[in-house]
Amino acid sequence: MIALVTGGASSGKSAFAEKLACSLADTRTYLATMRDDCDEARSRIVRHQRLRQGLGFGTVECPDSLRPACAKGWHGGVALLEDLGNLCSNALFPPCGRASADDVLARLDAELSMLQTAFEHVVVVTVEAGCAADGTHASTADWLRVVGALGCALAERSDVVVEVACGIPCVIKGRLSWT
């Protein structure tokens, strides 16, 4: 199955997505997207590592592309991608230069589809970021458009879409037997 988990910053998306992933399969792969290029990122990475400690996830580093997760063919089990916002930032704003929003959108859309050829279940965490009055800067506007469009495309292909607010999951598409 494909599941998409959305919500605001620190709304409990990760904890819910991990619980969901664990309920789906015993073979668990975490697709990590954060670059460890500053102290803030490193402390965030450690917080998330602690969150999923003991849950039996193997980790594949996917900071700007999902290809590393699909390279070895069929893994089976569940993949948890966390998160789409980071992946889009890293893909749009590489250390040198700037990528085209249309290119990134097409590439990541194709790579997200590819995940299904490597895993039985895919859980993707995205972020509700476009509900603010700050989309006027060109780079911000590009990022919002790419994250938004990928969220819509993925939601259409998903069996279940969940919006988390204050740690409470609201199923907005499909059904989860245990929520």
Partner: protein, 113 residues
């Protein structure tokens, strides 16, 4: 009248098309003879709507507006005033609307039906 709200690139327009409206039936201008008004938030940049604008707004079948009030408070005073106009206008419009939909990742979440 149906109010459709949601974030940037959340799928609002695609949802309105799925209701059966063509692109030609959507316009961002109140005077356009179109059943769908787009970008209510942009209309509010200049200031509040007057009563004549309200009458025309309520004649629309669908009104689409960006959700702009869920981020940080804007640095600029004019942006803060605009953001509040958008919120207050949507709240007033929602009272008049028969249906209010918030689109999340392309999925219509009904707030009023």
């Amino acid at each position: 009248m149906m109010l459709v709200t949601g974030g940037i690139a959340s799928g609002k327009r695609t949802y309105v098309r799925a209701l059966g409206y063509a692109n030609e039936q959507m316009d961002g201008c109140l005077d356009a003879p179109c059943p769908v008004l787009l970008d209510l938030d942009e209309l509010l940049r200049a200031g509040d709507l007057d009563e004549r604008d309200w009458e025309r707004l309520l004649c629309k079948e669908v009104v689409v507006c960006h959700e702009v009030g869920m981020g940080v408070v804007p640095m600029d005073a004019a942006d803060r005033a605009w953001r509040e106009r958008v919120g207050a206008t949507c709240a007033r419009l929602a009272r008049e609307a028969s249906e209010v939909v918030r689109v999340v990742c392309g999925i219509p979440v009904f707030l009023k039906r």
